[in-house]
Amino acid sequence: MTNDKLNKSEWPLWEVFIRSKAGLDHKHAGSLHAADAQMAIENARDVYTRRMEGVSIWVVESKHIQASDPDESGSMYDPANDKIYRHPTFYDLPDEVKYM
């Protein structure tokens, strides 16, 4: 998300996360440019919540986001595959057992 061609005068890029209603997680909505965090929140309100799509906004400068490497996703997530005993369906219980 960094770019050496980045123009000096260009406002920094921010990632926007929105909670769509009380009780739910903030979810990535998109990105925008703004001079600072306050302006990023105000712009996010104008761009992403014009139809009551949100009750809370988080912004973070894009350069602060660290992402996992897609080329390593094989080794990164593979080990979980053979641990099916982490799922409740792995266990065979007699039918008489209720509420479990």
């Binding site: 005068s9 998109g30 990105s31 014009r50 139809r51 897609p70």
Partner: protein, 316 residues
């Protein structure tokens, strides 16, 4: 991985109808084509505000004014979603603006036509946004993740645009003789340019096959155009307006409307910059960018100052 296996991996993602994300390997041509397509689309949303902006202060009622204002504001948002999607491919916002302002990048030619009466607001919403929706809905399932997600947002907002336009046309066509004539005249002005929005005929679009393979295009220009003609002709009947094409005729065998020949010379002429409003549109855009420079600079200077002040407050 070798380049060959990168390519294989990419192809398999495309074939599985899965998505390519910004940090995934992708062929250079795919990246370049996407940057061109997405930024062109973003420019169209931004320039597209100008013909309608022309009528905001002259809308006939407060309701119409509020609606038009909301629509134009949506278009600004669409431009922003798309610019952001393009930025994930490694081009900066300022580079894209530069390409637009220097004339290197294109935008949809339809916005180089003037809006001479209020009825044009109806015709644009009904026809131009209608054609845009037809183009855009299939792109919600395009292969590049950020582009597809932007299109989902755009399409959600787009449907009120077409409805408000149709409503304007309906009101005018049920009004006085003069109002009905205004609606028909606007229909006559916008019909053919709207058909051109789908781009040149398939026989003259050499990149279609590659773009369809990459799933950055899902139907050909002619397929979408035909669908638009079929749907819109029926809608015109509801308005009691006449499609300005004497060759328009239902073809029982094809199950589609046959329609007249499009004036492609006009299309290419407008693309080349000689449409009625090309210069005016680009100048408006450039002036807005240049006159807004002090605002952008001031906001940045203020942000720096506030940051410094906050840092000092922490030390104290």
């Amino acid at each position: 991985m070798t380049v060959h296996s990168f390519q294989e991996h990419f192809d398999s993602i495309i074939d599985r109808e899965s998505t390519i994300e910004p940090r995934d390997w992708m062929p250079d041509d795919y990246r370049k084509t996407l940057i061109r397509q997405i930024s062109q689309h973003a420019h169209s949303e931004i320039i597209g505000m100008l013909p309608e902006g022309n009528w905001i202060t002259r809308a006939p009622t407060l309701r119409r004014k509020a609606v038009l204002l909301a629509k134009v504001q949506d278009e600004a948002g669409h431009g922003l979603y798309l610019y952001s999607a393009a930025e994930t491919l490694g081009i900066t916002r300022d580079e894209m603006y530069d390409q637009l302002h220097s004339g290197k990048a294109k935008y949809s030619s339809i916005f180089n036509y003037p809006t001479v009466t209020w009825a044009d607001m109806g015709a644009i919403g009904w026809l131009v946004d209608g054609a845009a929706i037809m183009n855009q809905v299939p792109l919600c399932r395009t292969s590049y993740g950020p582009y597809a997600r932007a299109m989902v947002r755009v399409c959600k907002e787009e449907s009120f645009h077409q409805r408000q336009g149709f409503e304007i046309m309906l009101t005018l066509s049920k009004g006085t003789e003069i109002q009905k004539k205004m609606a028909q005249d606007a229909f006559n002005r916008w019909w053919w340019p709207s058909l051109m929005m789908f781009g040149p005929p398939d026989a003259e679009s050499p990149h279609t096959a590659q773009s369809m393979r990459w799933r950055i295009k899902r139907f050909t220009n002619d397929e979408l155009r035909q669908k638009f003609v079929d749907v819109t002709t029926e809608q015109a009947k509801v308005l009691g307006l006449e499609v300005p094409d004497k060759d328009l005729k239902w073809n029982e065998e094809r199950g589609h409307y046959d329609f007249g020949t499009i004036n492609w010379d006009e299309f290419w002429n407008v693309v080349k910059g000689n449409g009625p409003c090309n210069k005016q549109r680009l100048n408006a855009r450039k002036t807005a960018w240049e006159d807004g420079k002090w605002v952008r600079d001031a906001a940045m200077a203020y942000a720096e100052k506030r940051k410094a002040r906050n840092a000092q407050a922490k030390v104290a």
